[in-house]
Assembly symmetry: C2
DNA sequence: CTGAAAGCGCTTACAG
DNA sequence: CTGAAAGCGCTTACAG
């Protein structure tokens, strides 16, 4: 690899002049510029970005930390949408994405801290796949700007998340409006903050309607996948007095419930109404297509990247930005049998 | 941010000694080591990885170039599987992934060249989403090792791809064995090398059976998505003498054909047998579940990463590695109506 | 066991 | 318009 010195030699100028040509600075005579450009071409010279990074302090890399097992990340369309949104924005700013995940599942929390220490990046986005509050001290002392996709924690400069609370509230209102009174809710210990907000939204909708929410119908699973949804469906629907509707707090859980219903000939929405959350691409093609609460993962990722670029430019983005959700009514919900 | 000099000052030693403690070199007295570690803790010192990268020539970053529009990448489960496999292997080697995509669709080819020039990385993996042959000159003169997920091009140190040819041949043999003679084939101009191999595999199976392959049943679409599959299905199935089977050369195309069949009450596999390629997670849950040719995207990505780490260690991995495919027979294929 | 010095390959004031 | 010099923050022989 040729260095800037070799280029300078060949062109008969100083490295400083080559540097000026490289960065398109003015005050270089046309003749000199031409000679330098020729030398660059002759030597197929490419500036060393690490050296440049050391002097300028900018490497044009945006860190994206998703502190979770890769197997879970790549199985989660909503997370992939967030990554997509970040990549889209990074791309437009001529930044590359440095993607980091946790090595093992148990490793997730420590991965966050380890990763944040001294990586090669100008700024970072942390996806709140787990509670970050314990990491806040480590996060707070990072020398570069970072934002979170999720709920604000101590020291966050900016946080972007969907309106989980009202999204869940809307969906519950809708089910109550259809006449459902026994509504099963399937949650998970994964992604705690967002899912807790959704549970609160459900409770708020019941309270608003002056109806009691039967907490025994709230199931909190260990995981987020379709298998957990299937199990939850089994638990709820085998009860002597099963719910007439199930609100699964993620679409993947909902898809699992749907599979249980299919396999046990429980008609959806005939005998069971089913609502999901996220609106991943899959659910529109399920049979029946799922009613769900849309939260735009792409927009979340994009907004987070925008916020981080704003910080990099010295601007102060909104500290806590909440993106609206939207109830998407499809074919998996109807009035309960006794009301028809 | 504290530097190594400040740590050295506080501990009353030279920066060289701090460096030795940092990299766990021997020949540092226990007492000195303790003092240095204390100073590091006091100052919350984190070594600057860019500076370290400049001196050592290693940054522990693996570049992953997917020279395609992000919208297409994140809609393509097979590509995501490859990325997943690369991330998995990188993670295990304590490397982070620098993900790069093309800014715009038309930009794809140039993106490849631009990107390969002077990025911050130790090695790279290029996913052959389009023909790379034109980029081979630029690729060949990179100072770091790089491998391709796809077919070898001039100058490649290592290439890993699935056995597209035999995979397609197996599937075609199977359809011929069921009694199908008029087999529609849906290909695309995207991902040219792999899909061309699949077409060759189809032709080879016909030739082997001594049967003519009707080239008018081969449709080459502009894109790879389900919409193109839908269109292809329409074109083939509206013909006066429609094929009794369709082999879509990617699962996403197959899903589009399936949608067309559903919407036009064409029974699968009753009146139409359908085969895909890739075995993305979706197709096992389609109704009917799709017969397809499995190629393990995850394994491709992982093998590519392994090859690149071998190169980094000075080993020479296989120049051209071919991963086997497997025909997965599910519910979308049956003997043609006239044979039952 | 420890440190002074040089060097990695750039860019940035500054002087001319 | 051009260049000499210092500096970014480390590591690596080398000498002691």
């Amino acid at each position: 690899m040729a260095t800037i010195y070799e280029v300078a030699n060949r062109a008969g100028v100083s490295p400083a002049t080559v540097s000026k040509v490289l960065s398109n600075k003015p005050y270089v005579s046309a003749a000199t510029r031409a000679r330098v450009e020729q030398a660059i071409a002759d030597l197929a010279y490419v500036p060393n970005k690490v050296a440049r990074g050391l002097t300028t302090g900018r490497v044009f890399i945006l860190g994206l930390l998703v502190p979770w097992d890769p197997n879970q990340i790549f199985a989660d369309p909503h997370l992939l949408e967030i990554i997509h949104g970040v990549e889209h924005a990074a791309n437009q700013h001529d930044y590359n994405l440095l993607l980091s995940t946790a090595r093992r599942r148990a490793d997730a929390a420590s991965a966050c801290e380890r990763w944040l220490r001294g990586n090669i990046l100008d700024a970072a986005i942390v996806v709140e796949t787990l509670s970050l509050q314990e990491q806040s001290a480590a996060l707070a002392q990072q020398p570069y700007p970072w934002v979170v996709v999720g709920y604000p924690i101590t020291g966050t400069r900016a946080a972007i998340h969907a309106d989980d609370y009202h999204g869940a509230m809307d969906a519950t209102r809708y089910l109550l409006g259809l006449g459902h009174r026994r509504i099963g809710v399937v949650s998970s210990v994964q992604r705690p903050t967002a899912l807790d907000e959704r549970v609160r939204g459900v409770q708020a909708a019941f309270a608003e309607a002056g109806l009691p929410f039967d907490e025994s119908l709230l199931l909190v699973m260990d995981d987020l996948g379709a298998d957990d949804g299937y199990t939850a469906g089994a638990v709820l629907l085998r009860r002597p007095n099963p719910p007439s509707a199930i609100f699964a707090l993620t679409d993947r859980l909902a898809l699992g419930v749907l599979r249980y219903a299919h396999e046990h000939s429980i008609s959806v929405p005939g005998s069971l109404s089913l609502v999901g959350f996220d609106d991943i691409a899959l659910v529109a093609h399920a049979s029946p297509p799922l009613t769900t609460v849309r939260q735009a993962g792409f927009a979340l990722g994009e907004a987070a990247a925008r916020a981080v670029f704003a910080l990099l430019d010295g601007d102060e983005p909104p500290h806590d930005r909440v993106l609206p959700t939207e109830l998407i009514v499809r074919g998996s919900t109807a009035a309960p049998p006794e009301r028809r």
